[in-house]
Amino acid sequence: MSEVVATAGAPVADVDEDRRLRDRPLLITAAVLVAVSLALVLGEGLHAWGQASVNGLVSGSYVALGAVGLTLVYGTLKLTNFAHGDMLTFGAYAALLGKVTLGLPFVVAVAFGMLVSAVLGLLFELGMWRPMRRKGAGAFQLMLMSLGLAFVLRYGIQFVAGTENKNYGIDTTAVVTILDLRLARVELVVMIVGVVLILATAIILARTTLGRQMRALSDNSSLAETTGIDTGRIVSVTWLFAAGVAGLAGVLAAMAANSFTPEFGFRLLLSLFAAVILGGIGNAYGALVGGLLIGLVQEWSTLLVDANWKIAIGFSVLIIMLIVRPQGIFGTAGRV
């Protein structure tokens, strides 16, 4: 409603209350995390909790990286992008193409996968999303188009690569033991790379001009426009960034799973949405934190119930969050 705009400039600002409202959920989240961790340590033992947490950080890292692009694109363009999960798949297969078909060293192949994903993201923006926005397409219209795009991407990949399980041919038997926690070496790599990338992403968003402009646009597009940001350029950069990071997240997810099919990205999509909503839709840092939280919650749940349930637990967290606090941990009430 137009009312929020009309009152936003009201001089009667109650700053203390505003701060209190915003800080409380963070505290609550932290308190819940500590309480759950303590309960799990007491009930299941320190080692089991540590192991689950490490596993959670592994999956959390690629969920976080997948979610950050999804949330930025939503915030910037109000596009609920159902094709984002398949961008992860695309990145994973592009890296596979680089490694196997082009014979690139793996690290180069990963960079190649990321680059190709970024370019594809930009192409979709230029060829599809931008013209549609110019036509004045509504949010639902764009959402449905992303659904169609998801089909084209997923089955396009399947058309080329087939339905068989693929892997990068990385040695997955090697196990590292740190502090008595056992972890496949690949998983350790995924976790370290993932966390480093999350931090790098956060720094890019916080410190670079482009990053700040992306966040500004995602947070409040009308504000960004009036402050003279070249929105067309930032939107393009946002797509490059979102798709590129999604491609990278796809490679990490594929490495961690060690076996992937053209469907895996789509299967991750709801977890990505869970991360996005947990962190507050449109909030890039929120998505990073939300991703890690989803990973942790899913793995912690395996201490209590069969591991088969962990994905469903993630979705339940999504629904509970939507009921309790749809604006997410970092969001403010007015945005929902």
Binding site: M145, G148, V152, F159, N308, I323
Partner: protein
């Protein structure tokens, strides 16, 4: 490539009767499933992406009541549908107050949770194995129809095995279509359309919009559950993989093709989509099986993109009542 076109169509219509009957049944089931989506999306403006979850609930409740609780098949059907409606009301009370896009995500999550329960609550649902022992009543009914009725018109053979299901499915689909069309032409339907357009305006006119949205979702759930039961008779196996979100999305393809707000469009859209999905099996493009199946969904995806972009009212929708695009 040169030999592709003339030799492409390798089917023989009459020998393929069972195949075509099967395609017809699936098209009918998709019609029923999508009628619910049409009511929600086309007439109420609520973006239900969990329709297949209601189908799963309908199928599982019916199948489990018959196979594990020894209920009568005929009694299990209304109970299963009623159960789906109750779930829809609970889901709706929780999620209908959310923004449209959050509601969409929440409903996908709902349908996936249903599927994970079906997969993992093995004691109740038999897990990935699925449920099978519920078709006896239907089989004997179906056999009777074939012997007593279809035999007389030369359709009693094995290849017309699913003919009774085809007839039942399409009669049900048409009756439901007419019923929903009747309902949406009433003052009740007028309120739904007002909510689709501007919920606040409807509320300002004294309409309890949540109640109407719940009714819309509840009816969609009932119709979806019925589609799930029909699907259970077609497969005939109730297993988690029959209820992937993919099938809701195909429902959306049907909906967009036929046109939002067009009831007849749902039936036509379902026939076209099923034809594209199934009939292409019979065409030899010189591709592997995986490539052919991929290509079908690529076509579906492209059709969605192009229709939404260039003809958002669908094939039969009215331009003035265009729900898409602002």
């Amino acid at each position: 490539m040169h030999e592709l076109l003339p030799l492409a169509i390798s089917f023989d219509f009459f020998n393929g009767a069972d195949f075509w009957v099967g395609v017809g049944v699936l098209a009918g089931i998709y019609t029923v499933l999508t009628l619910g989506l049409q009511l929600n999306v086309g007439f109420t403006g609520i973006q239900n992406f969990g329709q297949i979850g209601f189908a799963a609930i309908g199928a599982y409740v019916m199948a489990l009541l018959v196979s594990d609780a020894d209920w009568s098949f005929w009694l299990a059907i209304p109970v299963a549908i009623g159960f789906a409606v109750c779930v829809a009301v609970v889901l709706g009370v929780i999620t209908l107050r959310l923004r449209a896009d959050f509601f969409a995500i929440a409903t996908i999550a709902f349908s996936e949770i249903v599927r994970y329960i079906a997969q993992n609550a093995r004691g109740l649902t038999h897990g990935n194995q699925g449920v099978q022992d519920y078709v006896a009543t239907w089989r004997s009914f179906s056999r009777d129809v074939r012997h007593d009725v279809l035999d007389g018109i030369g359709m009693g053979g094995v290849e017309f095995n699913q003919m009774p299901l085809l007839i039942v499915t399409w009669i049900a689909a048409l009756l439901l279509l007419l019923l929903l069309r009747h309902l949406t032409k009433s003052p009740w339907g007028r309120v739904l359309r007002a909510i689709r357009e501007d919920e606040d305006a409807a509320r300002a006119m004294g309409k309890n919009t949540l109640r109407f949205k719940l009714q819309s979702l509840g009816i969609a759930a009932a119709v979806g559950a019925f589609a799930g039961i029909l699907l259970a008779l077609q497969t005939p196996n109730v297993a988690p993989d029959n209820y992937l979100p993919l099938y809701t999305f195909i429902g959306y393809a049907v909906l967009i093709l036929g046109g939002l707000t067009s009831w007849w469009g749902v039936a036509v859209g379902a026939l076209i989509v099923q034809f594209v999905l199934e009939a292409t099996r019979l065409i030899d493009f010189g591709l592997t099986e995986s490539q052919t199946s991929s290509m079908r969904f690529i076509i579906v995806g492209l059709v969605i993109i192009l229709l939404v972009a260039f003809r958002p009212q669908g094939v039969f929708g009215k331009r003035e009542e265009m729900v898409l695009g602002d």
